[in-house]
């Protein structure tokens, strides 16, 4: 009986391997090669193209699909309103580049993106190009998932001199360049002009200092019953850091955790009181929630990036953007950027570099900027005539060189954020914890994490 059992199992295993064999050569192979022909018409980039374009694309592929065409894959998380502009630009590249390169994009929400990377990268099944926030470089460069790209700068394919200062350092890790700029954003103070009027404030005058900000928020709460000012705590582009920096504090400085510095204690106490006790706004919000709050016109002021302009304009909100109010020590805002990186498993370096260069060219950056409302990732085109089309661009571009970026150059920035910083704020705002204690606790965690 045992022998029979064994024989059956062996037969079974062989059957499965036979199927597997089918999968890799015949079946799967066929599926993969047949797919591009049949499905190129449905490819993401071409979703909005008229039928004629598809036909041309089809023919072009059929003719050159004999190995000369280089296909490079590009994964990113631009699912929001930037999507359309991104897809249009990639399509333009595919159609106009003379090196027969095609970029195939896979766009998915950032959550799914990081999940897939975790399984795909170790086995070399990742894409050629990745886009992600610069604070993540460390986590991926350190274990060797990314390829260093110093030579793209030294060879001039991407011009190092026009990269914003703040951004430049943070495209590096351990002294080497790993990323090229993809987009660059700063946070400004969005304010609702309608609510300002309602509260008796001048709708064209945004607060310029912390004192004014507090005054205005107070007035709004008292006169209109709406929320005056708030900052999101988790699942968001970081906002609290603007206040911390404004008072001369920081989170990590020169490799040491300084989250519990006296300046920070002062800052956090002040703003926690404002938000929690004076009811400027709900205590703990996610990025999505605070956006919706402003969109529903229940919140008068908050920090946000350029990505929100289209949505708010479409919602018919009468709003303005202003530079972040000046803190006691500095006027500073948060800058964040997404870079493009080449995976170490990529075999198409030349093609990738070509795309990187094209993306960072003046023309592309102008189009990208106009389409998304983001300031350009080049410092030399802010005065370009075409930019005047979108008035917000100039505003967002202004603080580029004086802004700071959050938690860069770490290999575990996500942990620092979710395990030390966010809980500290939650304790203070939700449970009225003593600020010094909470920050001390968080600081200890940060220290242990950045060892």
């Amino acid at each position: 009986m045992k022998k029979r059992l064994l024989a059956c199992m062996l037969a079974g295993v062989m059957a499965v391997s036979a199927l597997a064999g089918c999968g890799s050569t015949g079946n799967g192979g066929q599926e993969q090669s047949a797919a591009p022909e049949a499905e190129s018409a449905e490819n993401t980039e071409e979703a909005e193209a008229p039928a004629a374009d598809n036909a041309t694309e089809d023919n072009a592929e059929a003719e050159t699909n004999n190995g000369e065409k280089t296909v490079i894959t590009f994964w990113n998380g631009f699912t929001g309103s930037d999507r359309e502009t991104l897809e249009a630009l990639v399509k333009e590249y595919n159609e106009t580049n003379d090196k027969n390169i095609e970029v195939q994009m896979d766009i998915m929400p950032w959550d799914s993106f990081y999940q897939k990377l975790a399984t795909a990268l170790p086995v070399g099944e990742g894409p050629d190009i990745l886009a992600m926030a610069t604070e993540r470089i460390g986590s991926y460069a350190d274990p060797g998932a990314l390829a260093a790209v110093d030579d793209i700068y030294s060879s001039g394919i991407v011009d190092e001199t026009v990269v914003p200062e703040t951004l430049k350092e943070n495209l590096k890790y351990d002294g080497k360049y790993y990323g090229v700029p993809m987009n660059f954003a700063t946070l400004l103070l969005y304010y609702n002009k309608t609510i300002f009027e309602e509260a008796g404030l001048d709708p064209e005058k945004a607060p310029e200092t912390w004192e004014e900000l507090e005054q205005y928020a107070q007035q709004i709460v008292e006169k209109t019953g709406k929320y005056g000012f708030d900052m999101a705590v988790k699942d968001t582009t970081p906002m609290w850091c603007i206040m911390l920096w404004g008072n001369g504090g920081d989170i990590i400085k020169d490799g040491k955790a300084v989250f519990n510095s006296p300046e920070n204690v002062e800052t956090v106490t002040r703003w926690a009181e404002n938000i929690r006790d004076k009811k400027f706004g709900p205590e703990v919000l996610t990025g999505g929630e605070i956006d919706k709050l402003f969109e529903s016109q229940k919140l008068a002021m908050y920090f946000c990036g350029p990505w929100a302009t289209n949505g708010f304009t479409n919602a018919g909100i009468d709003y303005g953007v202003a530079q972040a109010p000046k803190g006691p020590k500095e006027q500073v805002t948060q800058a964040n950027a997404v870079g493009m990186y080449m995976t170490s498993s990529s075999k198409n370096k030349e093609a990738v570099y070509d795309f990187f260069g094209w993306w960072n060219s003046k023309d592309t950056q102008v189009k990208w900027s106009l389409g998304t409302g983001f300031p350009p990732a080049r410092t030399d085109i802010a005065d370009d005539e075409r930019m005047k089309e979108n008035p917000y661009i100039a505003e967002f571009a202004k603080p580029a060189n004086e802004s700071k970026m959050y938690l860069q150059q770490l290999t575990n920035f996500a942990e620092v954020d979710t395990q030390a910083i966010v809980p500290a704020f939650e304790k203070i705002l939700l449970e009225n914890a003593d600020v010094q204690e909470a920050l001390d606790e968080a600081n200890a965690v940060i220290e242990s994490l950045i060892q």
């Binding site: 975790a118 939650e426 304790k427």
Partner: protein, 297 residues
């Protein structure tokens, strides 16, 4: 040594053949990865699967002293303790109430099952919006009743109950359908006999319905326990384990350890622990319930 007839042997072989496809699939695609997971739990390696270090039992030692693990375990137990009785209780009461025929019962029966066929992700998104204190409809209605809207998903006190409720809302219909089937299988004559002895509603329920429903009930309960121990989707979408880790369940912790901290080895350790705990609890519960069944004969 009992010798088997040729015919018996032939039948046995056929029997094996029938289960072979499933057993092979399970072995290759479930048991082997599970064993690999066990192996992972003894190792430490980085995101690219390099720098593999053998940890012996250090990961497990770390686990025992890890506050985050115990917190997640407690949250998971809390979740299960409240979800399961609600899931089963609600399902049972509803099943009893709509046992009768009639268009209203039929309508309710169909309706209650609908949440079960939706994806939990969509359900979570729906509910996140509806309970939002500023723009959600449910909060608005509560405010009309004079209740001040609370941001439940960001409240350390109310986040977990909300998550539990969403899970119950989605899944009670599933249990209800199964229990209904069991209920319909109980012979009317039992009830008639009891009525003649003077038994009233509640007595009938406790002395006849529940005992006769035991097999179905025990399956539903164990199934719900296993499912609750593995809760992930709604927590991931609605709270991501917050606020202050008050809704972080074991699977959420495993997920976060593997994909946010890139510590696959330790994540596997937690996973093995979860598996063992689930196994123990389910077996214990099942034994307890089926023993009850045997007592009734």
């Amino acid at each position: 040594m009992k010798t088997k007839s040729l015919l018996e042997k032939k039948r046995e072989r056929t029997g094996l053949l029938f289960v072979m496809p499933s057993m092979i699939i399970f072995t290759v695609f479930v048991f082997v990865p599970l064993i690999i997971s066990f192996v992972f739990s003894l190792l430490k390696f980085d995101m690219m699967f390099n720098h593999i270090e053998f940890q012996k039992l250090d990961n497990y030692k770390k686990l025992l002293g890890d506050g985050r693990f115990w917190n997640a375990l407690w949250n998971t137990v809390y979740f299960t303790l409240f979800s399961v009785p609600l899931l089963i209780g609600l399902a049972l009461i509803v099943a009893v109430m709509i046992k009768k025929k009639g268009w209203f019962s039929g309508f309710c029966k169909s309706v209650y099952f609908i949440p079960a066929i939706c994806s939990m992700t969509i359900v979570s998104i729906l509910w996140s919006f509806l309970v939002n204190p500023d723009i959600g409809v449910f909060s608005y209605w509560l405010s009309l009743l004079g209740v001040k809207p609370i941001n439940v998903l960001n409240s350390p006190k109310w986040a977990m109950p909300t998550v539990i409720l969403v899970g119950v809302w989605k899944n009670f219909g599933f249990n209800m359908v199964i229990l209904l089937a069991g209920l319909n299988g109980i012979d009317e004559s039992y009830y008639e006999a009891a009525e003649m002895d003077g038994a009233k509603g509640l007595q009938k329920f406790l002395k006849i319905t529940v005992p006769m429903l035991m097999p179905t009930l025990s399956f539903t309960i164990v199934n719900s326990i296993i499912g609750s121990f593995q809760v992930f989707d709604q927590v991931y979408v609605m709270t991501k384990g917050g606020p202050l880790f008050k809704t972080q369940t074991l699977v959420q912790l495993i997920y976060s350890t593997a994909f946010d901290s890139f510590n696959m080895g330790y994540a596997s350790t937690i996973a093995v622990a979860l598996f063992l705990i689930t196994f123990l609890v389910s077996t214990f519960t099942f034994k307890k319930m089926t023993r009850g069944e045997e007592d009734l004969g």
